[in-house]
Subunit: 175 residues, 2 copies
């Protein structure tokens, strides 16, 4: 169970963030050519920008791992304003995740991961399994996919294989 919680969390976040880095590389090259301000592009006027989507994906990955391993959620970092800044933020997040061992997830599924919104008068009650399934992963993928969709919508030459690039590690020649 410990190893499964670790796998479903860290081994979802890290490959997703690695894909995001490659997507941003293609986005940066396209932005240079096209002179588009892609970092600040968004799909609707009141939606988050690409930079904010990347930041949020990093935040949910870090926050998820921190809460599941029983540590105090960190302050959220400031949003980067360049492709280089966003990539550096992703690299920091991956470094953080790489430093977390499977053993740190001991008992994670039963850990209280409720989110206290006492300023708004409520609590979102979640044990670790519910938190991972219904909070961390869906929020993480929301921002990862929307970052992809912003790039794709603006003409960057990417496909679903760039999103799910981790699948390449599992491909074997057919016998």
């Amino acid at each position: 169970m410990t190893s499964m919680m670790y796998a479903m969390a860290v081994e979802s976040f890290v490959p997703g963030l690695n894909s995001l880095t490659s997507l941003l590389d293609k986005g940066a090259a396209y932005a240079r050519e096209s002179k588009l301000d892609l970092v600040n592009a968004r799909l609707a006027p009141d939606m988050y920008t690409l930079a904010q989507q990347v930041q949020q994906a990093c935040n949910y990955a870090k926050d998820g791992t921190v809460r599941l391993t029983g540590r105090i959620p960190a302050e959220r970092d400031a949003v980067g304003t360049s492709f280089a800044g966003l990539k550096a933020e992703i690299a920091r997040t991956i470094e953080h995740l790489d430093g977390v061992t499977a053993a740190a997830f001991e008992g994670a599924e039963g850990r209280d991961c409720s989110i206290d919104r006492s300023d708004e008068g409520f609590v979102i009650t979640m044990d670790g399994l519910r938190f991972l399934r219904a909070w961390s992963l869906p929020h993480f993928y929301f921002h990862l996919v929307t970052a992809y969709d912003i790039l794709r919508h603006n003409g960057v030459d990417i496909g679903k294989r760039d999103y799910a690039s981790w699948i390449g590690d599992f491909v074997r020649p057919h016998n």
Copy 2:
């Protein structure tokens, strides 16, 4: 472990599909008012339409559950061409998922869920845990979030709370 595989699969898919139904309800109302052909809207000329995104979300939910419980993947259904058709397809998918018990996930994490692409000369080698983590969930969320992004981009009045509507079930008043 069995109950965790079940939870991470079925209890991710069903709430996500319920949210998608509500998103489509708002999309349908907006399409009636605005006369936009939202069902066929897409974020890039060579991307899937809203209808196809919904279909794919249903396919990955069904296919994931079928493979993890050791059954033969079913033929994929035809794509619906109306909001009513899409909602019916989601309802059929949820009905299918509701019929699968946690007990059917016995041993799912170790089950061979490799995807044979022998026509292309390769196999994607995955046990059940890897399949769920790196295939089913990321593909499912890709299509669910892109469906959301298409609606949002076209002006439908939805927010992240409509996407993650399942969170409402976990909210308790603060004491």
